[in-house]
């Protein structure tokens, strides 16, 4: 197991290098630091001097790859590529445009994000599986068809609709929870509504998908044999079908990770949760390239970690799977 994890981590390195090069090309080659300076200073009548000052201030005045004015190792280390791209690997993200340390900001904002995303993910998964199992019990009946129709309708509704309407009713009209904001001392008061909305908005997609997985398993020979042996329907569902359907469900979970990111971005900004999503959004709005670049890198690191975790969870879900 350990050797498997180590190998997978090593596999991740070329991918992260690729991500790194891609962001470098996007942020420094396609758009030169001069363009960035101009966009940032905003003025129509800016002088070359202003641009140079801005670049020196941000450390963008160095050459891209090779600094011929330095000698030895400094030839490579005193470049934009080294300072702004390679240092991402050791999670040294440098400074944001307002002078704050990005690494420190991210460490601080990680927890509210986690407090929202993790319960959202786990509660969502459990509820989707439960709903799908419930529907499967009535398979082939009118109830099943109605449920599928409801699922399709639910997933056709915009994510924004859930958020806007949810906030309107739960926070504004019924005053059950605060409208927005966050307090580290009592996070649940503020997080309960975003999590609820996140879970509800995911039911359509999730439950419909899991229903097809369960349906496929329910039609297999072992299910028929079990039924012939006199196993009750409930026992069949929980003891036989659910464990077997876990593998495709876990595979699908990886796909959810980017959606969690998007959810975090929209949800955190809407409900004023000071997490990574709202951090990213503020950076987009203020055109802070350093933060956006760091977040792209962190996003892919998290995605790869998610992939590895999924693979490990296979061994737990299916004893036949051996990681080697």
């Amino acid at each position: 197991m350990l050797s498997y994890i180590i190998r997978r981590t090593l596999y991740a390195i070329p991918i992260l290098i690729g991500v790194n090069i891609l962001t470098f090309v996007l942020f420094f080659v396609i758009n030169s630091p001069d363009d960035m300076a101009r966009a940032h200073l905003g003025d129509k009548y800016i002088t070359e001097e202003d641009i140079d000052n801005w670049k020196i201030q941000k450390g963008y005045d160095k050459p891209l790859f090779i600094n011929s004015s330095e000698s030895g190792f400094d030839k490579f280390s005193e470049t934009i590529f080294f300072n702004n791209s390679l240092k991402l690997f050791v999670f040294d993200f440098g400074q944001a445009d307002d002078g704050r340390n990005i690494t420190a900001d991210i460490k601080q904002r990680m927890w509210p994000s986690l407090a929202f995303a993790l319960p959202n993910f786990i509660v969502g998964l459990v509820i989707n599986i439960c709903v799908a199992l419930l529907v499967i019990m009535f398979r082939g009946t009118k109830l099943d068809q109605t449920a599928v129709a409801i699922f399709v309708s639910l997933l056709s509704i915009s994510y924004l609709f859930y958020i806007i309407v949810g906030q309107y009713f739960f926070a504004k009209t019924w005053k059950l929870v605060p409208i927005s904001g966050y307090l580290p001392s009592e996070p649940w008061k503020f997080l309960i509504l975003p999590i609820l909305i996140g879970v509800i908005s995911g039911i359509g997609q999730g439950a419909r998908l899991y229903r097809t997985f369960f349906l496929e398993e329910a039609g297999k020979d072992y299910a028929r044999t079990a039924r012939a042996k006199g196993v009750t329907e409930i026992q069949l569902l929980f003891k036989h079908i659910l464990p077997n359907a876990l593998i495709p469900i876990l595979t699908g979970v990886v796909v959810v990770i980017p959606i969690l990111f998007m959810g975090a971005l929209v949800m955190e900004s809407f409900f004023g949760i000071p997490g990574l999503g709202s951090y990213m959004l503020d950076a987009i709005r203020s055109q802070d390239f350093a933060i956006v670049r760091s977040m792209v890198f962190i996003g892919s690191v998290l995605y790869i970690i998610g992939l590895i975790l999924t693979d490990i969870s296979y061994t737990w879900a299916d004893p036949r799977v051996r990681l080697s």
Binding site: L160, V292, L302
Partner: protein, 464 residues
Amino acid sequence: MKPVILWSDLLIFILIVFISLFLRGMAKNPQVRTKWKQVFSKKLGVSTFIIVCAYVFIAFIDSLHFQKALPNIDQHITETRYETKLTSVLDLALGEMNTNIERTYSYPFSLKSYSKSMLKDDSGNLYRDFERLNHAGTHIDNDKNYVSDIIWQSAVSIFFGLFLSLFIIGLHKIWLIRSNGQNHNVYNYIPWNTAYITLTCVVILVAWMLHVGNLYHILGTDMSGNDVLYKTLKGIRTGVLIGTLATLIMLPIAILLGISAGYFKGWIDDGVQYLYTTLSSIPSILLIAASVLLFDVYINNNQQLFELGIEKADARFLALCFILGVTSWATLCRLLRAETLKISQLDYVQAAHAFGVGHARIILRHILPNVGHIILITFILDFSMLILAEAVLSYIGIGVDPSMASWGNMINLARSELAREPTIWWTLAGAFTFMFTLVLAANLFSDLVQDAFDPRTANGGHHD
């Protein structure tokens, strides 16, 4: 009038040609025809198809742009000057909806403004009251009769719509009888009655919106007094275009790389796999955000490239389509690669090799037609997903240009309006309803297409 073709207009024309060629190519194959038959023999398939087509048609006529000539005031200038804003055929069809601008918010079907303001009566005294709207119900003598007038006007337009659709249905029936006479009942599997009912509903709705929408503000007005129904209808083009162009733009790259990875294997396969693994490991929202941000910088630094404001919005729109395409590219590429790997092991491909057929010919003749269903399913499945994504992206501020009419922009502007007292719900309701209808119809239709074309689900599969 001077016709103007924006880049996105050009692409939608190419798209229409491409789709019709694709469908013709597929129709030649009898196997594919049976699959389409399976889709269109279902009532749901027919009615959702008509609804999606209605949306696509509106998007299409909204893509036929031209500039209106300005009235010539100076005798000495002989050349005609044109307006800087573009008009589309849809604008012509909608009549005065575009120019019926009030001062501020008003309720749907209301004759009065949303809020009170200072008014002057005939003798010059100031008083506070709800201001009469300038463009709602101006044709009626007494404002008290306006409910009965709305009912009357609605009845007129519904009657007209009914008449029009009966006319179309009649023409179609005649055509059907004639073609049936020639070759025996080819289209009998289509549930025509469902098609007629859906068509009638769509035609009546459109007629009602065109007629009553010009007399009243059906969905009220927004903060700057624009007709919400007009904005919602204009948003259709953006939604449909995002849903189709994003896939279209990435299609050539995905097909090329996916098939060559699966066919040639070796280092090409390794390279392509590395490429899509890397791209898909960046959460798409972050990649989109980064790219849009950088494109904004590019536009700001190259203002001179764009003559009209709308060209700038259009360029940003295409960039967004491209980026959305790139982020969804990996999935299609992976599927195509896997399928090509499977197909290139089959006997007929091996036989073609043995006969000395070239690589290009094998790919074009033997592999491409057999991965067509994957492309089709991806295209249709992505359509609704992309429309929903557009709204979220515009809401975050990395979507289409704020000057462009889109549902996401409408929602973005309207999100704080719910907090007002009394609540302003109609902008959100308009955008969400139109989006929901399109996405639901597309989802239901794509489900049927997937059931018919996906070999895993084709024979009953999970839909028992």
